[in-house]
């Protein structure tokens, strides 16, 4: 992943609550989080649903835009002041011209598919307690980096339920 991040020639900073991306835009960049944290969410009829978080050393991307070049419905917002390395699609395309880099890139994508599968099981798991335990086991760091109310939304439960589960 270091090789990928080294492609970046641009660093941007966004302040707390500022948007990196809003619904309907086409953003084909990949971002690597240097510091801070972000949330990726969708909005339907005024209700937010968080899809993913990004914090130190995570990659953040509107994968739909990145793969298709089409608009994406995601919002990406900084939870706190965040510094990001920007890697453009073009830089990645050039990077992928060599065999070794393509193998590396496959590994990154494979990893992402596995993460998505885990997330799918999260969402389909009925018991709030189990949902909480799955995520805690998988990403204990999440609970250090992200405020409770956002984690609760990510886990599809009320903040009260989450704090009760954390205590038990």
């Amino acid at each position: 992943m270091t090789a990928l991040v080294e492609l970046s020639e641009k660093t941007i900073t966004i302040d707390r609550n500022e948007f990196l991306k809003v619904k309907g835009s086409i953003d084909t960049n990949v971002y690597c989080v240097e510091s801070g944290s972000l949330r990726v969410f969708v909005l339907d009829d005024y209700e937010e649903q968080i899809i993913r978080f990004g914090y130190k050393e995570n990659l953040i991307v509107s994968l739909d835009s990145f793969l298709t070049g089409q608009p994406s419905g995601f919002f990406i917002q900084a939870i706190k002041k965040t510094v990001l390395k920007v890697i453009t699609k073009q830089q990645i395309d050039t990077f992928l011209q060599t065999e070794t880099n393509r193998i590396l890139w496959s590994k990154i994508l494979e990893n992402l598919v596995l993460q998505q599968l885990e997330r799918e099981i999260d969402i389909l798991t009925n018991s709030p307690k189990e949902r909480y335990q799955r995520v805690l086991k998988r990403s204990p760091q999440l609970f250090q980096e992200i405020p409770n109310r956002y984690i609760a939304n990510y886990l599809r439960m009320s903040p009260e339920t989450l704090s009760r589960l954390k205590k038990s």
Binding site: D15, E18, F75
Partner: protein, 183 residues
Amino acid sequence: MQSEILIQSLIEQSRQIINQVEKLKVNDLQFLSWKENPNSWSILECLEHLNLYSEFYSPQMEHLIKNSKTKNEIEFKSGLLGNYFAKSMLPKEKLNKMKTFKDKNPLNANLDKTVIDKFINHQIKFVDLLSQSRNVSLNKVKVETSISSFIKLKLGDTFQFIINHNIRHLKQIERILTERKNA
């Protein structure tokens, strides 16, 4: 201009507007309510003025987009009047004063910091409308203006008009910030 390019540019401008206003939240109520003289607007009054416009246009545009039977068109051609209105909104080098319609004047309304959240929510709605407008014709859908229901603008021009109007008052807010520092 291509419809898609216009939509993308307006979405990006909206994003910048949201981020610019988000930064204002660090200031306290007293600061945000400060005005140079009794007849000028405070920062909150500028934002509330824009909120009043959103409350006029957003529901109407949403209704039109949802119920339109038009199809999206590759090209958008600005209307004569629409183009004029949109351009006239942009602030000139030295901010030119414009007249405000009475029902859109927030002067001395009792405002608090929720005005900022309201503004940002309106912009998020606006971005959503821009996104939805990809399914309809920016040329054929016509929006009634707040001046008169007889004066209608193309949807594409209305979007641009609203954004330019936002930009105008954000410039005014920047000026208030400078005046406040020098006061």
